[in-house]
Structure formats: structure tokens, C-alpha cells
Amino acid sequence: MMLLGPAWAQEHSVAVTSDVAITALEKTQLRRLFTGQDDAWSDGREVQLILPPMDSEAMAWLSSTILGLPPDLYHRYLLEKAYRAGRAPPRVVESMDQILEESQAVPAVLTVLPLPVGTGFHVVRIN
């Protein structure tokens, strides 16, 4: 029974836009990117975080698989970090379709998408 897991367990993935030349990362590296502790890709470009809706299955997957932080606390953490830094918090979209739309205009995006991730993105494997 333990192998079954939640329904969304295998249906989402960390994804980046095609201009990001990364195909695999350690879970700790991904956690640091999603929490803003690391904010640049290896080529020096700023990580553009676009997050799924806080009440979405994609966010639940990110929360349990990568962050170890409930979505509402994660959202508060992002606001607190932005408040401290005097910057705007990462974009949290209202629907999954918005991630696809907004990523067309922004390079170096890191996000979470349902599988398959679709055109313009590729999956980042979790080592």
C-alpha cells in the first residue's frame, strides 16, 4: 500500500524553460532554488521562479517532494523573505495555464508542471 502514494505522486515534475541547460539536480539544490537561498543558475542568470497556485496539486507535490514545508507556510516564507529583501515575492499564478503563458516572455524559469511538461520546457530529474 505504501507504494501507491497520493494520486499526484508521479504526475508532476520540476521543469525549466528550454534555455536552461540543466537536466538533473540534487533535491537539496532544488530546495535551495525554490526557497530563494540560491537565486542564480550556474551561468549567472537570475532564477525566475513562477509558482503554481498555492492550493493546486502541483504545489502539494512540490511541498511534499521537495520543500518539506506546507504550502501556506511556504507562501508566508516567500513573503517574509521578500519583505526582508525589499523585493517583490516570486510570481504565484492563478492557474497552471498561466505558467505556460508567462514563461513565453521570461527566460530562465524554474517551475513545477504536470507531466508531460509540454513545449518550451524540459524536466529536471531529481537525483
Binding site: 514545508l69 516564507y77 513573503l79
Partner: protein
């Protein structure tokens, strides 16, 4: 009487700011109200809340006040801040001692410029230089119920801090270390500049209990690096600067509750601190502060 020659030396409350500089175009405004009370001076350097070996005043002294703190960005990594407290200090029981007369006015006015330097691992680092002055309460510096010692001091500071997830929650932790070069009020043959320079340390660590509420622990201390011990025969030579001449130190520990800001809701913070150690300074200070912060302007 001995107590009549003792000073109100409680350091002005200054919560740790951390290394997070405010960006250009953004204005942070904090309004705080505070109250504190003490009755016992400790001369030897001890934890002595019962005042068993300390020197009790004939009447407890209280200080209440309000403070405005303003900070704005000069660039993406540089900000400037000012704070102005308005304070009243008074005895809480009837007394005819003029040293305990009620004093009302402007406390230590502070200003500083801060530069974010970068990160060491996950710890952000910033440095600042600034000035604080007690010129506005110079005339009443000789009272026990003074608002400060009337001196003007130059400051250099280092700010450290970080925020990150920990065990299913997140923390925000910061520490400020400030050195005050105090411009001399008097010159002592044996001690040199009076008052002595000071090191201040302020630290706070807050954990998010829920998305709306954080709870934390804080520490606030200062150490004056040289000065006289509590010896009346020697302090008398300094006149109204007798309190500034003391080699005073105090360490306070406490707790804090933070209501995190929302999109349109200000930041609220309640702090309670209690002196746990002092030398030539009040050892039973209890301090309560309620502060509200808000951002005006646009984030990048």
C-alpha cells in the same frame, strides 16, 4: 543617599535590524510604543533580580515612550535610516527627591547609512556607519530619571542574518553588533575620554508557528568598555556627567511575537525583555514594546 547618585543607564531599545537593506523607492516606517520599569542597581556585575546585593531606589523608575523609525533605500544595496524617540521617565511612587523628577522629551536620536556586503554561506552581511545624539536631553542628564547621558556618539556596525526552512517551519535570525565611539563629555586623568566607548549586541530568532504568527527569542546587551565603578567619592567629580562616567553593562533576554504582514496588513510585533545581568546598571529592568511596521512604495 546612595541611590540618589545612581543613574538611569538603560540602553534605548533597539531591535535587531539584520542585514536586509531596503531598495530604492521603498520606505519602511515603524511606530513603536514602549514601557519599562526598574528599581534595583547592581554594582558588582551579577544576576540579582531580588536586589539582595544590589542598591534599591527609594521609588521604582518607569520609562514610557513612543518611537518613529524611518528607513528608505538609496540604491539596491544601500539604505539610510533615522529614529526619533519621545520619552517620559518618572518615579512610580511619590518622592520629594529632585533626582527622581519626571522628565519628558526627546531621547537618543539616531541616523545611519548601511551597505549590504553580500553573503557568507547562507548568512547575509551588511555594514553601517552612523551617529546618535542626546543633545535634546542634555539639561536633564544628571537625573536618575534622565532620558540619556546627553552625549553624541559615532557608530560602526555589522549586521548578520538569514532566513530559511527548518523542520517543517522557517526561521528568521539576525544579529547586530554596534560599536559606539563616544565623543568626550569630560577628560579623566586616569581613564581618558568620559564616557567610555560601548559595544552593543542585539539578536533575535523568530520561528513561524503558523503562516500568520511567529514566535521568537531575543537578546540585547551593551558593555561600556571603561569608566568608574560605583564609588560615590569618585563619581562626584564628574558633576552631571557622573552617570556617563560609570563603567556600565547590561544584558536582557526576552521573547517576541510577530504577526506577519499581509498584502495590505502592517507588520505587528510584541516584545518583552528582562534584564538578566548587569554591572553598575539596573538589574531588574522589565521592558515591553509594541511596534507596527509598514512599507510605502513599490517593490522591485
Amino acid at each position: 543617599m546612595l541611590w540618589s547618585l545612581l543613574a538611569l543607564l538603560t540602553a534605548s531599545s533597539m531591535a535587531s535590524e539584520g542585514p536586509w537593506t531596503t531598495s530604492r523607492g521603498l520606505h519602511n516606517v515603524y511606530l513603536g510604543v514602549m514601557g519599562e520599569r526598574f528599581r534595583c542597581f547592581e554594582a558588582k556585575g551579577a544576576s540579582n533580580a531580588a536586589c539582595s546585593s544590589g542598591i534599591p531606589l527609594s521609588a521604582p523608575v518607569a520609562k514610557t515612550g513612543a518611537k518613529i523609525f524611518y528607513r528608505t533605500g538609496l540604491g539596491d544595496r544601500t539604505d539610510v535610516a533615522f529614529s526619533v524617540p519621545f520619552v517620559q521617565s518618572f518615579a512610580t511612587e511619590p518622592t520629594t527627591n529632585p533626582m527622581l523628577s519626571s522628565t519628558t522629551g526627546i531621547g537618543l536620536v539616531e541616523g545611519r547609512v548601511r551597505q549590504r556586503l553580500g553573503k557568507i554561506g547562507d548568512v547575509g552581511v551588511a555594514a553601517a556607519t552612523g551617529v546618535r545624539t542626546g543633545a535634546a536631553h542634555w539639561d536633564t542628564r544628571g537625573r536618575i530619571t534622565n532620558l540619556g547621558e546627553g552625549s553624541t556618539d559615532l557608530m560602526a556596525a555589522l549586521y548578520l542574518g538569514g532566513t530559511g526552512p527548518v523542520v517543517g517551519r522557517f526561521h528568521t535570525t539576525s544579529m547586530d553588533v554596534r560599536y559606539f565611539y563616544r565623543l568626550p563629555l569630560q577628560q579623566s586623568d586616569s581613564l581618558g575620554r568620559i564616557p567610555g566607548d560601548e559595544v552593543h549586541l542585539s539578536s533575535v530568532s523568530t520561528f513561524a508557528v503558523t503562516p500568520q504568527l511567529g514566535l521568537g527569542l531575543s537578546a540585547d546587551g551593551f558593555w561600556r568598555l571603561w569608566g568608574e565603578e560605583l564609588d560615590l567619592s569618585r563619581l562626584g567629580q564628574y558633576g552631571d556627567d557622573r552617570w556617563a562616567a560609570l563603567r556600565a553593562s547590561q544584558l536582557k533576554l526576552g521573547g517576541r511575537a510577530v504577526v506577519y504582514p499581509g498584502e495590505r496588513r502592517p507588520y505587528l510585533q510584541l516584545s518583552v525583555m528582562r534584564a538578566v545581568w548587569a554591572k553598575n546598571n539596573p538589574v531588574d529592568t522589565t521592558q515591553v514594546e509594541l511596534a507596527m511596521g509598514m512599507d510605502i512604495g513599490r517593490r522591485k
